[in-house]
Every structure is written in C-alpha cells, then in structure tokens.
Symmetry: C2
Subunit: 380 residues, 2 copies
C-alpha cells in the first residue's frame, strides 16, 4: 500500500471538486448549455490575465499556444530577441526559427534571471527587433525573469513583448494590461489546477494590429478565427469540453479565494520551501531570482540525483521533477504552484530528508521540515 | 483554499479506488451479479477474521453488531463479565444491562490495559460467568487489551469470549479460531477503509451452540437468519449494497498487500507516532499497552486541548479526535488504522507541532517529525 503525492511543476494536483465535475456525463459542445460555461470561463480568464482583451482557449498544450503566438502575429524574417535561460527559453527560439524568424539569442546561465541591461543593450543594438520572447517563470530552472522591467523597455515601442506565463500566471502578479505585455500564454496543468490539454493566449491591441501583416501560414491555431468564435461563446474547432467544464470550477475556486490570496499562498509556500532547503544545508538552484512556482535545489555531490528522484517516486510515492540537460541528475524541483497547501510542502521536505538519509547523506532529520513549519504557520 | 486531512480513528480515509467503485451506477442486490460480489466478500472476510466460520455482514454500525452478539447468544439473567476501561467497554456493559444480563464490572483506569489476573480472579469468584466482554483495542483510550491471554482463561470452559475488534481487526493479529475467540466484531469505517454503515460478526461453534438456548427477543439482528442467507450468497434484509461493493475492493487491496504487511505497516506507523509524541516531550495516554490503531497523547497542561483540536480541524484542515468524558480537552488521538501511510503521520506530527507553537507551547519544531521520519524510513 502506497499513497502517491504529485509535487511536480506540471502536471499539478487537480482538486477533487474539479475531478468530480469533469466526471459528470458528457454534454455536447454546440449547445447553449456549453456556451454558458464557455462564456463564464472567458470572463474568469480575463480576471486571471488582468486584461480587457479576450483570452482564447485552445485545445492544445502550452507549446501549441507558443507556436500560435509566432505564426499569427509575426512575419518571416522578423527579428526575435529570445531570452534563453533554460529549456523553455530555448523553445521560444526553436519555434521562431521553425517559422523563418531570425533569432537574436540572449543566453543566460541556468539558475539566473536575464539582466534587464542585457535586454536593453540587445534592443539598442538591434533596433528592428519585432518581438522579445521570454518566460515569466522558466520552469526548468525555477527562475523568475523581470517581466515588468522588460515591459518598460518595449511598451512605447513597436517591439512586442511575448511572455510565456505557463508557470507564472496564477502564481504571482503579472497584470497583462497594466504592464503592457503584448502576448501572454498559459496552460491548464499548472496554476490552473487542471489536467493537461488546454492552453490560453491573449493579445494586446498592439499585437492584434501587428497580426494584420502576418505572413506565416497557419490553420488550426487561427487566433483571429478563435476571437471571432469566442465573441459568440464558442470555439473554432471542437473544444476540450471536459477540461473547459473543469476550468469553470477552477476559476470559481481561484476567484473565491481571491487572486491576492492565491498569490500570497504561493509566496508563503515558496518561501517555506526555500527556507527548508537552506536549513538542510542544500544549495538553491535560483537563489537570486527564484520563481514562486517551483524551487530547484542541488542534491549533495555524493548523491545521484536521478536515482534519488526515481526512488522517491517509486518507493516513497512522492513525484518530483529532476533536472534537464546539464542539470540532469544534479537537481530536484519541488513544485508549489496550483493546488498545493502547507502540508504538501511538509511532505515534500520530509521525503527529501528521508531519501537523503537513505542515500547516505548526513542530513539533520526534521531540520528542513521545521523551517517549513515555521513559515507556513503564518497561514493559521 | 485548504486541503483536508482525516486522521481520526473512524471514520478513516477511504481509498480512491474504493470511492470510484462505490460511485458506479447502482446495481440491484437480488441479482446473481450482486451475489457474486457478496460471496467474494464473505470469503475475504474469513481471511481477515482468520476463521473458518461464516462472517456475517450487517447493515448497521459496529454498535448494532455488539447488540446482536448479546441478543442472539445469551439469556436474560446471564452473568456478563465486562472489562470497562473506556467508552466502549462501558458500552458492552450498557448493552448487556439493556437486555437483562447481570453485569460484573472490571473497572480499569483509562489508559491502562486490563490485568489478566483481574480477569482470572473475577472468573474464579463468579464461576457462572456466561461471557467475558472486552475490546481488542479500546478506541477511547488507545489501549490494546491482552486478548490472547484472556482467551487462555475461557477457551476450555463454558464461558464465551466476546471481543469488540472494531479498531483491532485488520490492525494487528487477532486470529479468531487459533485463539479461541467466540464472538468477534468489527465495523466498516476503521481498518476496513470504508465509510460507516457496515458491521461484521462471526461466531465460534461454541457460540452458535449457545445461541440455541437464547431467550432474548430480536428481529432485525437475527444472526441465524443471516447465516442461512449468507450460505445462499445473500442477506436477510436489504444489504448496504454500495458499501459491500466497496468492501470487495478493500478486501482485495488488503489481501494483495498481505495481512502480515498490513499489520507491519500499522506497527511501523504506530511506533513512529509514539516516538514522535515522546520526542516532543509529550506524555502518551497508553504508554504500557498501546494499540496500533491510534495513539493518544496528553496536551501540555497550559493548552486547552479542545480548542487545539478544533483549531487544527477548522484552520489547519487536520481532523484528529479529542478525549471523551474526563479526558475531554486533555488529549489528542492520532489515528493510524486503515488507509494511512508514512506521510500521513508526518502531516499529523507537523500539524501538532505547529498548533502547539500557535497555542504558546514551547515546542522544538521538527523534533516530532524527525522521530517519525527515522522510523517510517524503515519502509523504504
């Protein structure tokens, strides 16, 4: 007998009330019944994105929405400034290249946030940059990039700011309209507490205007067509209906809790987790600009992080994410975005303490948990 | 947003696979389809009770099965020796008195197990005792009574040994046939990991024989009638069908895990919990003969235990049981019977540490959790 705990930065746990709602008998998506749900979701999403623009719902993963941002707005040969500080920054560049954009890379050490000065300099050196592509939270390195400061550089220019907010939206404030973000994206299986399969994208007026001159072919990801359909409370193609039905409940839960409280909960859990890691004498992957979505930590050098993560998953029943590329086997990523509460972080830290002890690392049992407890106790 | 944790000694958490099974569309109970399930449950229950006798399934709480043991087997005026070391021992006596038996009480201090010598002496002083009534585990005091030793006193005599195993069956070995227990009872919402509503009872040959001379009126709880129906894979009255359907899955889970492993898991969690309590400098309610079903601890004298338990439930989302009668406000009972795993005990201990800190008790945060971690780590 083994209970299972999903503490990875996507998929994240789905609340029971959402699972039960999605388990109800299927309804048809071309009905007034479904349209009412669709319309309610559209309204809720605007609040989550902090925008007056429509937020489009796509039946795809977040990567599909990333692609749609490129193929619906830019032109072949456009210059894209891409912040590459992890797997997902790299993905922005790959998508841009796949559709004929010219990429100017800003390479950032994994675990660091991009420097605003580096972005400013690249924009100065390349006055014809059509768009800056960046992550709000770079999931692979648990870093938060300085989106608000970057938006100051782009908002009164012709350059579009394109933000992958897949592990940022719903975690900490990233008000699209107020900051002047031109394209913002998120996915269902992160802070939105749903299974994977839905992506969300919203465009500023400036981005919609730019899309008029777009020359990249696209069919399934047709944002203008989706916008037109959304105005009629429906979608261009068959929507992922059960996920939309779950989304209605998720949005109600988040708005009932209050966005400020949602952000505060994430902040508390993130601070607690970081304090726990440091109390165990372990090094944080992103000590300077950590995201509140997940916390990366370096496993001790004597421990094979890949084996530890596997053992925690298979024997202890606790699923974390490990590292990718050159961080493979070196880090653990503890998630705290979405449906997480204080005791999830207690379980996360306890399992890491137990796993480290099992793998021969001399760890002071309970020290990480104690640090977590002291901070999450603020909530009660 | 608050996640909820049920760490009380009944109801206990119900596994997801059981909940999903019970959520399937209702089937009719007078069908071959249901009879097959009923028969499978009857076979499984014999393994859990460690008996060759039929185990009857009653649509009632455990107290209903306790009543049926008295009303189906004994005679008005029979002398009952009742071990009264808590709320449930007291209940045996009350049931016996309600149906005209004469009760000889053995009063035991709450938190202590009955002394075998005291039972032997009472039997010696009252050679006409028709039955000894005792709990395997006295839930209100988290004590395990010495059933095997008591059975040595009754098994070659005319006296019946009647054991309320409601929080003992499926927690630690209590082999009915091998020990010579004459009547054994349990309920669904304890180690059997189901919602409340089902009770189980099995009678030895000696008890069935005695039931021939029973003169207490009964109708709904008619064990002979149930035995006859069970032989035909059905029940005398409408069975609690969804619970029986869930029971089939529960029994499969327990037998797949293996009874030895089930007992070992309970033992590990119980030892870990007791070590955690002691590491916090708190006193155990039953230090000498603790049951592996639940652990009672005294809250510090400066803390109102009633308020603490209420705050843990309402604010922290963690439900424990408090104390009853003269222990009201003085103790917390942490459950570990049924669907509990290592990290449930971590959560239990962390929440108690956090709650004690909040209530002004100077507790070394993490100390209890560390003690739990060290012991449960044996499992991995």
């Amino acid at each position: 007998m083994k209970k299972r705990y999903l503490i990875s930065p996507g998929p994240t746990p789905v609340p029971e009330e959402v699972l039960l709602e999605m388990a109800k008998p299927m309804i048809h998506h071309r009905t007034s019944q479904f349209s009412a749900i669709f319309a309610e979701c559209a309204e809720g999403l605007k609040k989550i994105f902090c925008t007056d623009q429509p937020v489009l719902m796509l039946a795809s993963s977040g990567s599909g929405a990333m692609e749609s941002a490129v193929t619906n707005v830019f032109r072949k040969g456009d210059k894209a400034l891409v912040v590459n500080g992890g797997k997902f920054g790299e993905r922005w560049g790959k998508i841009c290249e796949a559709f004929g954009l010219e990429v100017v890379w800003i390479n950032v050490e994994w675990g660091q946030a991009v420097s605003v000065d580096a972005v400013a300099e690249a924009l100065k050196n390349n006055p014809d940059i059509a768009g800056v592509f960046v992550q709000g939270s770079e999931t692979s390195t648990t870093v938060a990039h300085p989106i608000q400061q970057i938006s100051e550089l782009t908002k009164n220019t012709d350059t579009l700011l394109v933000v992958d907010g897949i592990t940022a939206v719903g975690v900490y404030p990233m008000p699209m309209d107020e900051w002047g973000i031109d394209i913002m994206i998120t996915g269902s299986q992160k802070a939105l507490m749903l299974p994977p399969g839905l992506a969300f994208i919203s465009l500023s007026e400036k981005a919609w205007k730019r899309s008029e001159s777009c020359d990249i072919p696209h069919f399934y990801f047709d944002l203008k067509k989706e916008r037109k359909n959304l105005a009629a409370d429906t979608s261009a193609y068959t929507p992922a209906a059960s996920l939309i039905i779950g989304l209605r409940v998720v949005l109600k839960m988040m708005l009932d809790e209050g966005l400020e409280n949602v952000y505060k909960r994430h902040d508390t859990l993130a601070r607690a987790t970081r304090a726990g890691v440091e109390a165990l004498g372990l090094k944080l992957l992103a000590p300077e600009s950590p995201a509140n979505s997940a916390t990366g930590l370096f496993v001790p050098e004597t421990v094979d992080g890949g084996k530890l993560v596997k053992d925690l998953r298979e024997n202890y029943g606790v699923t974390f994410a490990g590292g990718q590329d050159h961080l493979k086997g070196k880090i653990i990523r503890i998630a705290h975005l979405g449906y997480f509460d204080s005791f999830d972080m207690v379980v996360a830290m306890a399992s890491i303490e137990m796993g480290l002890l099992k793998f021969g690392h001399d760890v002071q049992m309970g020290a990480g948990v104690a640090a977590v407890e002291k901070i999450v106790n603020e909530r009660y």
